[in-house]
């Protein structure tokens, strides 16, 4: 029996079986179940079919739009800042002039390895209004203390700072790999033709990095759309919902208010938005092939 089962044609199926099982149990089933739950309403365990009620409610929910707006704002401000910083870091790390490169690279990548809780506690200490490191530093330059987590405007900036600190190194390492794969001959040829450093950057580095730039933009955008950890740990979405993100609102509805149907509807709305981003990426990268 075993011998008959393990034929040349069957073995590949057996090899993918564990992954397939995992996918069916932990991905496909929850995805489909959430789709159904998003069409139901009611209390915790007692559910009844409600059609598109949750989606109608979503469209009319000012808090959902607030969370969407906050997420978009953080996305538009944070992703470019972080990626430009990451690119500059990568250029620096890639320079032949820098000593102790391994150490710098480790230092740049380290924040991405920091656990969520340690990171949250650390930032709430750094950002503390009266005894925080950042306000002390700013104080040296005569800036009066900023209420980082207590003011709606600064709380958003605080999230942007924390996010940038956490993910900048990760993107820098991706860029570094990209920079190292650019053929040296291109630069040599350009130098022979008399191109300066800035010209080489815009005419060689950026075009050569294009697919990688796109990849990081899309990955960061999707990551920010799903932003949860930082506001959850640092601000709880406040003050007055100024840092409420879509994922945080989803979490509140599901696990604080037990409103699983509505939470699932939010999840699907988020999925739609993320899928939209994925499509844009396909268009942008696919068009070049």
């Amino acid at each position: 029996m075993t011998a008959r089962l393990l034929t040349r044609r069957n073995v590949p199926y057996f090899l993918v079986l564990p992954a397939l099982l995992g996918f069916v149990c932990f991905k496909a089933y929850p995805i489909l179940a959430a789709a159904y739950i998003s069409l139901t309403t009611g209390a915790g365990a007692a559910r009844s079919f409600a059609g598109l009620d949750n989606y109608v409610r979503l469209v009319n929910d000012p808090l959902f739009w607030t969370s969407l707006g906050n997420t978009a704002l953080i996305l538009v401000v944070q992703v470019p800042i972080m990626l430009i910083l990451a690119l500059l870091l990568a250029l620096g790390l890639n320079s032949k002039l820098v000593r102790l490169r391994a150490l710098w690279r480790l230092g740049v990548f380290m924040p991405s390895l920091t656990g969520l809780v340690a990171y949250g506690v650390m930032f709430s200490v750094i950002l503390s209004k009266d005894s925080g490191l950042l306000n002390w530093l700013l104080g040296l330059f005569g800036v009066s203390p900023i209420d980082w987590l207590g003011s709606p405007f600064w709380a958003r900036i605080a999230i942007v700072i924390a996010l940038t600190w956490h993910y900048c190194g990760y993107n820098a390492v991706i860029y570094l790999a990209g920079l190292q794969s650019i053929a040296k001959e291109l630069y040599e040829a350009a130098m022979v033709d008399g191109a300066g450093a800035v010209r080489r950057f815009w005419s060689i580095t950026v075009p050569q990095l294009r697919p990688i730039l796109l990849l990081t933009i899309v990955l960061s955008a999707i990551g920010t759309l799903q932003l949860f950890d930082e506001p959850f740990v640092l601000t709880g979405g406040g003050p007055d919902n100024s840092t409420l993100t879509i994922s945080l609102y989803l979490y509140q509805n599901g696990f604080r208010y037990f409103d699983f149907g509505y939470a699932s509807a939010i999840a699907y709305a988020l999925t739609l938005i993320v899928a939209g981003f994925g499509l844009v990426q396909l268009k942008l990268t696919g068009g070049r092939k």
């Binding site: 079986l17 149990c25 365990a45 207590g150």
Partner: protein, 436 residues
């Protein structure tokens, strides 16, 4: 499709189905003692653990395993367990008033009907205002009161003296505001502290007790939204008045509150009964400086009591050992000597009125300048607090009300306008009617 493929696919599906639905409840047949697990959090769990031993001795057939699940982790664990049809839940669950109605309303059958097991005979044994909160719409009891925290008014007598304020003359919150202005001017201390931006956690106990003192809350007994009612606007207006007078410190941020109190910058803590033990523990150096009295009323001659929060023990609706679990509840919660032992070991202010006859409730405490601090709270409960209906949408209401308070405190919003918007939002989100 060829045959091997069909076989593989069907095997996959069969495995997937068993893997997804596997791991059902393990109801071992009664060989040996019955084991019941109790879910709670520190420090209350210490109290439970100490009486569990006595209970085991008195009931040789039952073993009690007290598990420290932790707060707030316990709420998610119970939610997930109930959403999974009761799988993996403890037999006895320690539940706070802020979550109890949610579990009762949103997970029918999630908690066991205790009336059936004989709980109703204890109906009048607990502080007034508590039994209605454990009673479901069907009139059955789904929990037994354990802890009750009536609100108090802890104040620094040294700062009051320095500012020339007579605490006994403060009868309404308006009096307190006038006293607070004097206090700020003469001692530099704030009257109270609030986490104004609600950073980290909401700070709504004051607003809620101001509502409760007026017999009001976020919802009425029928479950309609009353967040923009006259009492609510009144309560929020008082908070705004205090804030505008510059007598409310902002306690947001890691360790800020503790620091302000240590530095004599906050003169009043409108905290509940748990403060009696917590304040001496946290600020041992301020021994002899604190006193406690009942909080001022919102309106002249109005009620001064309010129950800030209360916690309960329930039995899981899917527990295979409901009778044994209820036996433990009866043992732990209805005997004065047992519940006072838990008060001692777990710091849980008992809800059982018979417990208050114990001398510890009238004992003088040095920390409070020889004042019998606990007596203030027993007296408050004796006045009879109103029952508060938290409803299944309390978590949502709390968040929305907190947002309104933040708007008032940080952006100077008009209390009536902020609350009316909040009430509408709460009504839209919860599908509940707006009252009146």
């Amino acid at each position: 499709m060829n045959r091997p493929l069909v076989m593989v696919v069907s095997a996959t599906l069969a495995l997937a189905v068993t893997a997804c639905g596997g791991g059902g409840g393990s109801d071992q047949k009664s060989t040996g003692p019955v084991k019941i697990t109790v879910w709670s959090w520190k420090p209350a769990s210490d109290g439970l653990a100490s009486v569990a031993k006595d209970f085991e001795q008195a009931n040789p057939g039952i073993k009690v395993d007290v598990q420290v699940v932790g707060n707030p982790a316990i709420w998610e664990k119970i939610t997930v367990g109930m959403a999974a049809g009761g799988k993996g839940l403890g037999d006895v669950l320690h539940i706070g008033i802020d979550y109890l109605p949610g579990y009762m309303e949103k997970f029918p059958g999630g908690l066991a009907d205790l009336s059936e097991l004989g709980a109703d005979k204890y109906k009048d044994a607990f502080a007034e205002g508590l039994w209605p909160t454990v009673t479901g719409k069907d009139g059955k009891a789904y929990a037994m009161p354990w802890e009750v925290n009536p609100v108090g008014f802890f104040y620094r007598s040294d700062l009051f003296d320095k500012a020339g304020i007579d605490a006994a003359a403060i009868r309404t919150w308006d009096d307190a505001i006038e006293a607070g202005k004097k206090l700020k001017e003469r001692t530099g201390a704030y009257l109270i502290g609030l986490n104004k931006p609600a950073a980290g956690s909401v700070d709504m106990d004051l607003f809620q007790s101001l509502l409760q003192q007026q017999g009001a809350f976020y919802f009425d007994r029928q479950g309609a939204v009353t967040l923009s009612s006259a009492p609510a606007v009144q309560a929020m207006t008082l908070i705004k008045k205090m804030n505008d007078a510059g007598i409310v410190a902002d306690t947001s941020g890691e360790g800020t509150r503790k620091k302000l109190i240590s530095e004599d910058k906050v003169a009043v803590l409108p905290w509940a009964a748990w403060g009696v033990g917590y304040i001496p523990e946290t600020w041992p150096k301020q021994k002899g400086l604190w006193r406690v009295m009942q909080p001022p009323a919102v309106v002249p001659g109005g009620k001064r009591t309010a129950i800030v929060n209360s916690t309960y023990l329930s039995v899981s609706g899917t527990s295979p050992h409901k009778a044994e679990a209820f036996k433990f509840l009866e043992y732990a919660l209805t005997r004065p000597e047992v519940i006072n032992k838990m008060f001692e070991d777990g710091g849980v202010f008992p809800a059982l009125t018979a417990a208050y006859a114990d001398p510890r409730f009238t004992a003088r405490t040095d920390y409070y300048g020889g004042q019998p601090a606990l007596k203030t709270f027993v007296d408050a409960l004796g006045e009879g607090a109103d029952a508060t209906y938290y409803s299944g949408d309390y978590a949502r209401a709390l968040k929305i009300a907190s947002d309104a308070q933040t708007q008032v405190l940080l952006k100077g919003a008009d209390p009536a306008a902020a609350l009316s918007q909040a009430a509408q939002q709460l009504s839209q989100q919860s599908g509940r009617k707006l009252a009146g």
